[in-house]
Every structure is written in C-alpha cells, then in structure tokens.
Symmetry: C2
Subunit: 207 residues, 2 copies
DNA sequence: GATAAAATGGACCAGCAAGTCCAAAACTTC
DNA sequence: GAAGTTTTGGACTTGCTGGTCCATTTTATC
C-alpha cells in the first residue's frame, strides 16, 4: 500500500467509522472483525489491506477517532472559558454529551480492551487528558488574570482536579446510568473556583 | 454440588484467589482459564465444578472479591471521618493504596471486560459506589453536625463529588501512571469541605 | 489502450480457549 | 468397611475469530 487512491481512502474511512459505530453500540468485546466487515460491506482483504496490523491497529485508530471526538464535542465552549456563564455553558455541554452517550464509553472500552500490551492506547488517552486539562487550565488562568479567581490558585492543579471529577463522574455513570456524580463533581469544582475569588489563601490550605 | 466439604471450599477459594491474583498482574484479557488452572494447581473439572457458570461466573466472583477489598483497604479510616486530621489520614491512605496498585485496576478491568451483557458486574460496581459514598457522606454529616462544615452542605452530593474525583483520579492514573490527579481531586474536595465551615451559603451557589 | 499499481472478493487456515465428559480417587457417614 | 457423595484428572470436542493468500477487477498513468 504505497499510495492511496481516493476510492481507497474512502474505503478505509468507511471501515474506520463503521467499526467505531459498532463499538459504540455493542462494545469492543462483542465486535468482531467479521461484524465490521458485514456492517461496512467490505471484505476481509480490504480490512487487512488498510489496517495491516489487523484488529489491534484498527482498534487503535478507533481510539484516536473517539479521543478526537471527545474534545470536539465540547467546542466551542471548552476553548472559551472566559466568564462564569461560559463555564456554566461548558459544564452543561459536558453533562449533556455524556448523558446522550449513555452507559457505554467507547474510549474506555477500547483502551481497557487493548490493555497494557499496546502502549499506543495509553498514549492516546494520556494525550487526550493532557490537552483537555491544558484547555481547562487556560480557562482558569484567564479567570485568575481577570481577578475572578484568587492568584494563589494553581491552574494546572485545579484543572487536574476538575478533570478527575469529570472522568470519575463518567465512569460511575457507566454502571449506574445516572449523571448525578458527574454533575456533582463539576458543580463542586466550579463552586470551589468561584469561592476562591474573594478569599485568597483559602484554596490551597488543604494541600 | 449440593454441599461443600472443607476440602472443596478450600479448593474453590484457592481458585478464586489465584484467579484474582493473575488478573491483578496480567489483566483479564490475558488471563485464560488454563492460566488459572496452572497457577492454582487445579484441573478443569474442578474449576467447572465450583463455578458451573464457567469463566463468567468466576470473573464475577473475582469482581466481588476486588470490590470488597477496595473498602477494606480504606479501613479503619473510612469509617471514622470525624475530624480534619482523620479526613487527611483517609486521604493519604487512599492515595497510598492506589499508588501501590499501579496502573492496573482489577475491578475496572473485570467489569469492563464482562461488559454490559452481564448485569451482575454493573451491580457489583454500583453497590460498591453506593456504600463507599454512604460512608463518605456519613463523615460529612458528622463534620456538619460538629459545626465544622456549613449546614447547607448536602452530604450526599458532596460525597458524590468527592467519590467521582477519586474514581477519575484512579482512572487517569491507569494511563499516566501518576497519582497527581487523584491527589488534586482529593485535596480540592477536602479544601472545599473545609472552606464551607466559615461561610454558610457558599457551597451551594454553583448549583 | 497498454501497463503497472491498487483495490477487492472470499475461500481457506490455524490456533486458542471455553466447555464437556467419564472414570478414578478421596472423603463422609453409618 | 461399605455405600454414597464429593472431588479430581485430563483427554477430547467444538466453535469462533483473527489472519493469510491468491485470483480477479478496477483504477491511474503514459
């Protein structure tokens, strides 16, 4: 596969998106290569032609796709955390996104299935977390510069805590089906940021 | 398997714990029944004798074992959140527990592998979350009654947020290998609770 | 339109791992 | 110590799924 014709690229994309859709619906464990083939009207030789690494390579590609989608789904709010209403809008969007997604988290599903033998999967998640946190931290920094948050707040650490709350909320949602925890975590995180505005020194005293 | 002799019970336990140990070390996907057999010096007929449901039943039993262990590992601190130093001690214990555990989270591994077709797995996690949150909430309630936390704080919601932070911190640790997020989430959660002490009305204003 | 490269179809293979089965040994109980 | 039950060993079956292979068709390029 030296080059890729337009047709070839289209086929590859069809396989990738079809696989992602199936995994979103049934989970990784219940999605075989034959399922993907049937669902995308392709043959086995095509799949292995475009993903020489076989299942593993395909799953990794799906993971990347889903990782990208996570941040995309938070735009444009995530990149514009410049006022309290904006933060609230972002919070609502996150909750809504995961409420729609339901119990299955494709990314977690894929990575936990690829497991530790595929370092690429961990890398995808790590990178997602890194940039996600960076964007939140940028928002915190902005608010801090605007005097809405105390100067003693560490933006990265605050963003890390917020991000952890989101992840945990989603994780819990995967078994309970409820977004209660996600909302509680986000609301507490935001309340804490807001509270830091008037009383410098308060935020860090638990560290 | 009408009754279980002492010997039988011991064998069953040996299989269960051996399976749990293997899964802790290598993850679910890389642990076959034959691995368990080899690792516990048992034969296939024994495994299916004590776990008629086969792999699925065994995995579920392992999930229960691990779920129990999670709370046990936090004792006695978890049940005694009655002063700020006690909260801090609990926080340290949690961080330490997961730092020791490393990247693999057996419970998440098992449940995400059993997937949605086994409702029992979700139930185990849900139940764990429920009681975990209840114990944290009890601590919050205690502190509130002692006047250390404002009366307007909802203990269950605060506990939910804290729990989400923990879960997310651990989840992130699974890919990064660092406990940074876990610590940030816990510290922020505790700082927020502490901050609620002096200024009633503050905590809930983000809701 | 000839040639080379890419795309496609689908039969085939191989291996693994879950699960079955039956006979033999050990234990319990009387 | 005999009868019945539980426990154990391990060979065997079976189904599935990832992966290979090669012949054929389509597409690009000149």
């Amino acid at each position: 596969m030296r080059t890729l014709t337009r047709k070839g690229a289209a086929t590859r994309q069809r396989i990738l998106e079809g696989a992602a859709a199936l995994i979103r619906e049934h989970g990784v464990a219940d999605t075989t290569l034959d399922d993907v083939l049937a669902g995308t009207a392709t043959s086995k030789s095509q799949l292995f032609h475009y993903f020489p690494g076989g299942r593993e390579e395909l799953l990794l590609a799906v993971a990347r796709l889903e990782a990208d989608r996570v941040l995309e789904d938070q735009r444009p709010q995530l990149g514009d955390l410049t006022s309290w209403p904006a933060w609230q809008a972002w919070r609502d969007k996150v909750v809504d996104r995961y409420r729609r997604q339901g119990r299955l988290c494709p990314l977690n599903s894929v990575t936990s299935h690829l497991g530790s033998r595929t370092p690429g999967a961990q890398a995808v998640v790590t990178e997602l977390m890194r940039s996600w946190q960076a964007e939140i931290a940028a928002g915190v920094r902005h608010m801090r510069d605007a005097g809405e948050i105390g100067p003693d707040v560490d933006p990265d650490r605050a963003a890390a805590a917020l991000l952890a709350g989101i992840q945990g909320g989603v994780l819990i949602q995967m078994s309970t089906g409820e977004t209660t925890h996600l909302e509680a975590a986000l609301d507490m995180g935001l309340a804490h940021l807001r509270a830091g505005r008037a009383r410098p020194g308060r935020v860090a005293d638990g560290l």
